[in-house]
């Protein structure tokens, strides 16, 4: 596998140095332990919001640090949770006296490390609330699994909660809003190709030219089912049916639709997916009120897509529309 890197061991550090040089207007970077912090943090009186996760999902989370979204992000090694010392450093760097929200994707490593970090922050008298996102309908949610994975809804929750924090909402309110967004959001993803981590140099799974993997996560892990490759319409039917029937989303619902690329799929294909998704939802009398199309939560160079739906109300729509100014998401 060919990669544009210098040293496999230096990938995360060198990318972080690139982010620091490129986005000084938005962020400053702490190198040990690694944290990307909003340039003007901490904002006195504003709830701080941090997230973090393995690297390899760019622009999530570091690309979402800035006004109206995250106050800090902790990048781990590729596909590896960051560590509690990073999260504690981030929490301290963004605490403006109103407490700090940890947005945590439901992966065992992320959850365990954020739990240890929250314990450490509380020992330093910083108020912390943690919300775990778990929107992936591909995973059976039962006592016998680690529960559903946190995927696409995490990006949307970071945007909406970031807007609420800018509005001056309290830590309890922002955390409740985050739980609401997670509760009304559902996602599912698929892959056309595996990905290759710089450390291993090997494909994360083998997939034939005529096959696709349904129900993948964002770490190159295999999915739930392997199937014969179908058209974009067939893929959307497969993913959207599982999503819509899970919540369920019903006739008359207004939604935010997020069509996400896994890293190796071009935008032209994502627009075809969006076209099919809108047709599918029209057939069920579900209206797309807002949309986000692009590669925002990726899995290195994996080809494929994920679809996320969020059921909207006026409050959520207003917070989604509020200004945001980060390296990867910017409007208003």
């Amino acid at each position: 596998m060919k990669k544009l890197i210098n040293e496999p061991d230096a990938v995360v550090r060198e990318a972080l140095e690139g982010i620091e040089s490129a986005h000084r207007d938005h962020v400053r970077v702490i190198h040990d332990p690694m944290v990307i912090v909003r340039a003007d943090a901490p904002k006195q009186g504003k709830v701080g919001i941090i997230s973090g996760g393995g690297s390899g999902h760019e622009p999530m989370h570091g690309g979402f640090v800035g006004r109206g979204m995250l106050d800090a992000a902790c990048p781990g090694e590729v596909f590896t949770s960051p560590t509690p010392d990073q999260m504690l450093e981030a929490t301290k760097a963004v605490d403006g006296g109103a407490g700090v929200l940890h947005i945590v994707k439901n992966y065992t490593g992320d959850v365990l490390n954020f739990e240890m970090a929250a314990d450490l922050a509380k020992a330093e008298d910083i108020e912390v609330e943690s919300v775990v996102t778990n929107d992936d309908v591909a995973v059976q949610d039962s006592l016998y699994t680690a529960g559903r994975r946190g995927v696409g809804i995490t990006v949307i929750a970071e945007k909406i909660c970031g807007a609420a924090a800018e509005d001056g909402q309290s830590l309890a309110e922002v955390a409740e809003l985050c739980r609401k967004v997670n509760g009304q959001g559902r996602s599912m993803g698929m892959a056309l190709t595996p990905c290759v981590t710089p450390g291993s140099g090997e494909p994360s799974f083998e997939l034939g030219d005529d096959e696709m993997e349904i129900g993948i996560g964002i770490h190159g892990e295999p999915g739930r089912h392997r199937e014969g490759l179908t058209s974009a319409a067939g893929v959307v039917e497969r993913l959207a049916t599982a999503i819509v029937e899970d919540l369920p989303y019903q006739s008359g619902d207004k939604v935010l639709a997020f069509v996400n690329g896994m890293g190796g799929t071009p935008l032209i294909e994502l627009y075809i997916v969006y076209r099919e998704l809108e047709r599918f939802l029209q057939g069920r009398e579900i209206t797309i009120e807002r949309r986000l199309i692009g590669s925002y939560i990726t899995s290195l160079e994996m080809a494929g897509c994920s679809i996320t739906l969020l059921k909207l109300d006026d409050d959520l729509t207003r917070l989604w529309d509020a200004p945001v100014d980060t390296p990867a998401l910017r409007w208003g």
Binding site: P33, G54, G76, E77, V78, F79, T80, S81, P82, T83, P84, D85, Y107, T108, G109, L112, N113, E115, M116, V139, Q140, L143, Y144, T145, A146, R149, T197, G199, S200, E202, S204, G217, H219, G220, E221, P222, R224
Partner: protein, 214 residues
Amino acid sequence: MSISASDVRAWVGAYATTIAEHRIELVKLDTAIGDGDHGTNMERGMRAAVEKLEATQGDDIGALLKAVGMALVSKVGGAAGPLYGTLFLQMGAASAGRDTLDLDGWTDALEAGVKGVQARGKAAPEDKTMLDALLPAVEALRTAAGDGAELGDALRRSAAAAEEGMRATIPLEARRGRASYLGPRSVGHQDPGATSSHLLLQTAAQTFGGNTPE
């Protein structure tokens, strides 16, 4: 026969070497049912643990084990960081102020560590996790002590129990950690965490047991 502080230093060093030697194997096991980073993460963490130990003076076994735990918590990441970090931190808390450990002292420390892992990861036996190697190892130590076994023999029996527990993860369906997302597709693969835990206890038997490796 007992375990001294310099034995503990030698054990941690030997485990770091063993993990480096088994890195590829651990990565392959983890690629099959996880995300393929276990060997790489543990190698990085154990390298940091050895450096931290070299910078830690004295012969308080508790302080040495805590230093290893802190290094793992801050350098491993993933689920293994908090879990192995907690194992060593709790072993350290249970052996604070001691400069030697006899069989009972070692068993108490390991049991405290394993209980910490259970509390942090909330896994049960046969969930296909590192506990499937660790729990039988503690039980074997207790049984060996009851039989009046000497330290070296008890450690070899605990390593053998860990190995058996590790192999017994192969037919299990994972219920914790990232492997649980695969459901039935996790069956037929040996758990990488149980594998690195078996190596930990095997290295302990080799370092503290005064025997020749098999």
